[in-house]
């Protein structure tokens, strides 16, 4: 087989687009971890809730799509804040592993509650776009949109964190959790805002995913593990590291899937992750 052919190029480019999406997915998780030091195992389930919300607002209630999406983002942002207030806050002082496990309980709960409320049938918002063909390579429009929005979202987040007072406070508290209260920053408030932001990013991700995938209660399981691994690979809490790791992972999945089957792409990506962990346990761009 000729190694460099047009289909390989196509899968590399599609991997690039997937990378943008995965980068957005990891951004919210990294933000929350960096500031609060908690991993939301149920992060992908928040995205699932957002996808259902958009589906109901748009298909069932007949709202215009942009309004439905905006409402979806707000809803997931509220869910993120609620998650922190009612679930994370009570265990903030407990052992770190309890914080990981409690959000795992939320994962079970959300997944089962979604099955109970929405059933296990696959749902689709039924919006289709024609593929874009450039030369012999075809791109799917939703993927291109997702890539663009993901990059814009990350840029906005970067500007927020570096150019605003609140963003600066968030970065400061992620660097030294103990000293910031002494500087007049109220950590509780920052935590809630960060959680809402993390939820909002999950909501944004659900807007992009809902254009590409069918919605079902277990969809979180197909994005969750990969998102955690990207964050760990990039160094937990390191947003730039997560960004780069997302593109590496996406190439493994896309190109591995091109040469073999899709699952093999994931297998290779996960094995690569395990191998890197032994080489640099703190993640490729981790600091400690």
């Amino acid at each position: 087989m000729q190694i460099f052919d047009i289909f390989l190029l196509e899968s590399v480019l599609n991997g690039l687009l997937l990378g943008g999406l995965l980068a957005l997915l990891s951004l919210g998780l990294n933000l929350v971890f960096g500031v609060i030091d908690v991993i939301w195992i149920c992060y992908a389930e928040l995205i699932m809730i957002g996808m259902y919300a958009i589906y109901y607002f748009y298909v069932v209630f007949g709202w215009p799509l942009p309004l439905a999406m905006a409402a979806g983002v707000l809803l997931v942002a509220a869910a993120g804040a609620a998650l922190h207030q009612f679930v994370i806050r009570p265990v903030l002082a407990a052992e770190p592993i309890n914080q990981l496990l409690v959000t795992g309980g939320v994962l079970f709960f959300l997944q089962a509650a979604a099955t109970l409320a929405f059933g296990i049938e696959f749902k689709n918002i039924g919006v289709t776009f024609p593929p874009i063909v450039i030369g012999e390579i075809s791109f799917s429009m939703p993927r291109l949109i997702a890539f663009g929005v993901a990059l814009a979202g990350m840029l906005a987040m970067y500007l927020f964190l570096t150019r605003t007072y609140l963003g600066t406070a968030i970065r400061a508290i992620s660097q030294d959790r103990a000293i910031m209260p002494l500087m007049g920053v109220n950590p509780d408030r920052i935590f809630i805002i960060t959680s809402a932001l993390g939820g909002g990013l999950a909501g944004l991700a659900s807007c992009l995913l809902v254009l590409q995938y069918d919605i079902h209660p277990a969809i979180g399981l197909s994005f969750g593990p990969i998102t955690f691994l990207i964050c760990v690979l990039g160094g937990l809490g390191n947003m730039v590291g997560g960004f780069i790791a997302a593109f590496i992972f996406a190439q493994f999945i896309s190109v591995g899937g091109f040469f073999l089957a899709v699952e093999w792409g994931y297998v290779i990506a996960f094995l690569f992750f395990i191998a890197v962990m032994f080489w640099r346990p703190q993640g490729i761009w981790g600091s400690k």
Binding site: I39, V102, L107, L116, L229, F273
Partner: protein, 326 residues
């Protein structure tokens, strides 16, 4: 009296199926003991601060290697199981050694092991020509002429399964005891508190952690093999991947991670909860049990981190001195 109590309980458990408790309760009992064994295996390392999300891998290896060996190569489970155990030991070592050597702990350990169980699930799905992929696979039956086949480890009589699983479960508790009584446990507790300090007083951190991990992984592998043989059906989602791995962790937490019977109580609790709600509401609301289960887990971790049995025992301990004084 208190010393005799466990033996009376055990005797009652052992004879219970003989007085005819019916097929369904017997099935429940077998499930509780089987998962109780697997959860006990998990708790052996979990209670020492090594929270693994990777046990789905070992469960999957146990289940699939034995079934595949029988179906593809006609290998009896008596040979298939040792192969599965050897494979489990190799993988546990390959993951464990670098993790412990480079001090991958806490969140990172949980997530690295999570990758391991996902790799196993994806491999089973990807090798669908051999494993049947997501549809799962049934071991070829050897029960055409008689009701049991020792060679194929297949028994149509649930009573046989009950005693097999009972013995395995007891062996699991014995292993738990052995580890609990050993110096290694004290050393590992020191490690889980403060690894560097433990190393500084001459504890070989890596070797001890590896030993406990091997025991725990091998037990889980045995559990996976038994589960596959008993159910006579396996599929990648029920024996590997993130779902079952989390379920193990939560079963143990619900029951109580730090007490011997805690994991078994957790298995009984989760199973009875699921079955009870199913009987109460029928199959129309089939996710109601997991919804309540998830909610209870969250509440448990927040308000009762010692679990049901752990919490109950702690409450009894507190009452004891008061009653002794009276």
């Amino acid at each position: 009296m208190t010393r005799a109590l466990p033996w009376i309980g055990l005797a009652a458990l052992a004879v219970a199926p003989l007085i005819g408790i019916g097929n369904y309760p017997l099935h429940m009992l077998i499930q509780v003991l089987l998962w109780g064994f697997v959860y006990t295996g998990w708790s052996i390392m979990g209670r020492l601060g090594m929270v693994s999300f990777g046990h789905g891998a070992f469960l999957g290896i146990g289940a699939y290697v034995v079934v595949m060996g029988w179906n593809q190569f006609g290998l009896t489970p008596w040979i298939g199981l040792p192969i599965a155990l050897a494979l489990t030991a190799v993988i546990a070592f390959l993951i464990g050694y670098p993790c412990f050597r480079f001090k991958i702990v806490g969140h990172y350990f949980a997530l690295v092991t999570l990758a391991l169980s996902e790799v196993t699930r994806l491999l089973i799905v990807a090798l669908r020509d051999q494993t049947g992929g997501s549809l799962g696979v049934t071991p070829k039956t050897a029960l055409t002429e008689s009701s049991y086949s020792l060679l194929a480890l297949q028994f149509s009589d649930k009573l046989v399964w009950f005693y097999v699983v009972l013995l395995v479960w007891l062996a699991g508790l014995w292993v738990w005891n052995k580890v609990d009584r050993s110096m290694a446990r004290l050393a590992l507790e020191a490690i889980s508190q403060e690894e560097d300090a433990a190393a500084s007083i001459g504890i070989n951190v890596t070797r001890l952690k590896l030993g406990v991990t091997l025991i725990s992984a091998l037990m889980t592998c045995v559990g996976g093999a038994l589960y596959a043989q008993y159910q006579a059906y396996v599929n990648p989602d029920t024996v590997s991947g993130i779902g079952i791995s989390l379920q193990m962790v939560f079963g143990v937490i619900a029951g109580g991670m730090y007490v011997r019977l805690g994991p078994t109580v957790g298995a009984a609790f989760t199973l009875l909860l699921a079955e009870g709600l199913r009987l109460m509401f029928g199959n129309s609301l089939h996710a109601l049990d997991s919804t309540i289960y998830g909610l209870m887990l969250v509440l448990f971790i927040i308000y009762m981190p010692k679990g049901i049995l752990g919490g109950a025992l702690a409450a009894m301990q507190r009452r004891k001195p008061a009653s002794a004084g009276a």
